[in-house]
């Protein structure tokens, strides 16, 4: 029963990794590049929503209703993502992927330091709005088995957000253009699709998702602490992306949940100090035996 509990806890928390992984994979799918600043910018979105909440809702326990906070965070996430696109991708050379990689690392460091400056590096309380949905923060099924209500909510919202994303990608014209650019950049260009604009849109979509994720993580954890959390989350997000298959959204989701469950089981078995070592090993197993990941395409000819 212990391990079942560990797996379920891990799966639920894995939704966080999945959300971050989707952001990486979306951008990778369209631009074939990594945006290392993704998680940082997403959390910055959550900080903006917190800042607004602190200014607007001075009295009591934050005056803003939860969905407004999430909305603000999502919008801010989108704006930040667009800025990241401008400073790291729009004007760096297309064929030289190192340039945008380094620029996003620079952005990651800078965003991090900006948040440190704004908050003195101290953790900021984020209203635990998701907990309010359930009377009891834990859904206890038995003495042995219980689920965190807010994590379950996060999980459900993550699933809904992902379905929404898939709908955008597969049922709208915008999504069509995005997929066209992802698959055949040149051909898409010839069909009159403006690649720059599509890229920017993808960034904004990923950023909106990231802002939402940042706010939800804040709400679940109860605190925002950029400089400690973002780099580990970025690493996990990248691992999830690779395990799921670069560019594959279902892959990022399954990969995220899988990594979440896997690490929690190893936490239970081997303890926290070794936990991440096994996550890395899982990645190496994938790289060795299935480098294209769970749902990745096999390399096709150019």
């Amino acid at each position: 029963m212990d391990y079942v509990q560990a797996i379920v806890d891990g799966l639920l928390f894995g939704a966080v990794y999945a959300l971050i992984g989707i952001g990486f994979t979306l951008i990778f799918g369209v631009m074939n590049k990594i945006n290392m600043a993704y998680a940082a910018a997403s959390f910055a979105g959550a900080y903006v929503s917190l800042g607004i909440a602190q200014v607007v809702g001075l009295s009591g326990d934050f005056g803003l209703p939860p969905f407004v906070m999430f909305l603000v965070s999502a919008v801010a996430g989108g704006v930040f993502a667009y800025i990241v696109y401008l400073i790291c991708f729009r004007f760096t050379p297309d064929h030289y992927e190192l340039a945008s990689l380094m620029a996003t690392i620079g952005t990651l460091l800078m965003v991090d330091e900006m948040v440190v400056q704004a908050t003195n590096g101290e953790p900021q309380n984020y209203p635990e709005v998701l907990q309010g949905i359930f009377d009891n923060p834990m859904l206890e099924f038995s003495e042995e088995f219980a689920i965190r209500g807010d994590l379950l909510t996060l999980f459900i919202v993550a699933v809904i957000a992902t379905l929404g994303l898939l709908w955008v990608l597969f049922r709208t014209k915008l999504g069509l253009a995005t997929r066209a650019v992802a698959q055949q950049r040149m051909a898409a260009q010839l069909c009159g699709i403006r690649v720059d604009r599509t890229n920017a849109t993808t960034f904004v979509i990923a950023g909106v998702l990231g802002g939402l994720a940042g706010a939800m993580i804040g709400a679940v954890v109860g605190t925002l602490l950029q400089s400690l959390v973002v780099i580990p989350l970025t690493i996990k997000g990248l691992i999830v992306t690779v395990i799921g298959g670069l560019g594959s959204i279902p892959g990022a989701i399954v990969g995220g949940l899988m990594v979440g469950a896997f690490e929690n089981v190893f936490l239970a078995i081997r303890g926290v100090t070794e936990r991440d070592m096994y996550v890395m090993l899982l990645l190496f197993v994938f790289l060795a035996f299935r480098p294209q990941g769970l749902f990745g395409r096999v390399a096709v000819r150019d």
Partner: protein
């Protein structure tokens, strides 16, 4: 083109630099006594550096307002504080201390991180007058880096940090006496931070056992963890009377929240000295209610209140770490005056030696909440009180000295 751009950039920086260092000498003082502070003013633990710097400046203001430091030749010296950022990285800390040692500074107060202090003390000369040891000869008087036993690394290193072994020894004995029917302890430790890890394994665990408690186990997590479900589940199963947590406020709050969610029952909750800060109360006042922490600072005396108010002017909050910076400045004034520091350009190495010897010779110093005993090793035993979280503030629970 590129070269030209580079010159422009360098030129701008040079201008910025000269602007920073050119401070005018006030009329009534004859010379300046330069004291360096250093610590993390960027990165995760920026608040440490901000608080230490503020308290040092406030203390310098107080000293200067009282006429400054009386130098060896009867002239008066003005205390000038310069603070350097080391980002809590060992390498940068070493550069900073080398920079300070090559400058006009007679002594340094810092660093704020134990993981910087350890390598830093390592590059100092181990024993005085050991010609074969080429380590740096520069006195450091640490205020914040608290991990146990560091000052014995070098004879040039002194610390005015609470002795956690004493504190927890005392605390566990007191708990045993006060609630004699409590038998068991469950620990919690943030594994990857030098201080919290040391304090669990080398202090809390040992002292709890020494006081006659049975340690049932410990929950472990990392500084960047946000999910504690599995750890808390094990903690709940153990059903310990006392839960003793060695971690910083960031994860302390996460853990306490999870404990509340899972309705972990306990009789007494004990925390790490560093958690007796405002961050804990801001983060999780409700969940932390009643947590008992020994601390070497609380605004209980007039002197302590004055220091708090002084620091507030520089946006620094006085806590058990930064209050020590204030105390250090006062101790340094006393040492410099008694040893007759000259603060002239040519006497700098001699001044440093005088300060080191002065610090080493001290048996007792006056702290903000009582008398501090100084040890040969360079460590101190500071008076402490037990505080517990009540609503939005820390209240004194018990004063072991009374």
């Amino acid at each position: 083109m590129i070269v030209k751009r580079f010159y422009l950039f360098a030129g701008a920086a040079a201008v910025a630099l000269t602007g920073v260092s050119g401070t005018a000498l006030a009329q009534k003082f004859d010379r300046e006594v330069h004291i360096a502070g250093f610590g993390a003013k960027s990165g995760v633990v920026r608040s440490f550096g901000v608080n230490t710097e503020g308290m040092m400046r406030a203390a310098a203001d107080k000293i200067n307002a009282g006429g400054g430091i009386k130098l060896g030749d009867g002239k008066m010296g003005k205390v000038v504080v310069t603070f350097y950022d080391d980002r809590c990285r060992a390498e940068e800390g070493i550069s900073v201390i080398r920079r300070i040692a090559s400058g006009k500074f007679v002594v340094a107060v810092g660093p704020t991180c134990s993981n910087v202090a350890e390598p830093l003390f390592g590059i100092l000369q181990k024993t005085v007058d050991d010609k074969s040891d080429s380590g740096l000869q520069f006195p450091i008087f640490t205020d914040t880096a608290i991990k146990g036993g560091l000052a014995k690394i070098s004879a040039w290193a002194f610390r005015n940090v609470p002795n956690e072994t004493e504190m927890y020894k005392n605390l566990f004995a007191w708990v045993k006496k006060k609630w004699p029917n409590l038998k068991t302890v469950y620990g919690g430790v943030e594994e990857d931070f030098a201080h919290s890890r040391f304090t669990w394994y080398k202090v809390m665990d040992k002292q709890a056992k020494a006081a006659g408690f049975k340690v049932l186990g410990r929950a472990k997590w990392l500084l960047a963890d946000t999910n504690f479900t599995t750890q808390v589940r094990a903690m709940k199963k153990a059903k310990a009377d006392i839960i003793s947590i060695s971690s910083h406020p960031f994860t302390l709050c996460g853990l306490l929240k999870e404990m509340r969610r899972q309705r972990v029952k306990y009789k007494v909750l004990i925390g790490l000295t560093s958690s007796s800060s405002m961050e804990t109360l801001q983060g999780c006042a409700r969940q932390a209610k009643g947590i008992i922490i020994p601390t070497s600072f609380a605004p209980v005396t007039a002197a302590a209140k004055e220091a708090s108010a002084g620091g507030a002017k520089y946006k620094a909050s006085a806590d058990l770490h930064s209050a020590a910076a204030w105390e250090n400045m006062m101790v340094l004034k006393q040492v410099m005056e008694s040893k007759g520091v000259m603060a002239k350009a040519g006497t700098i190495q001699a001044d440093r030696r005088k300060i080191r010897d002065g610090l080493a010779a001290l048996k007792n110093t006056q702290g903000l909440i009582g008398s501090i005993k100084r040890h040969k090793s360079g460590e101190a035993t500071k008076p402490f009180v037990y505080v517990h979280a009540q609503g939005k503030e820390w209240k004194i629970l018990h004063d072991p000295n009374k």
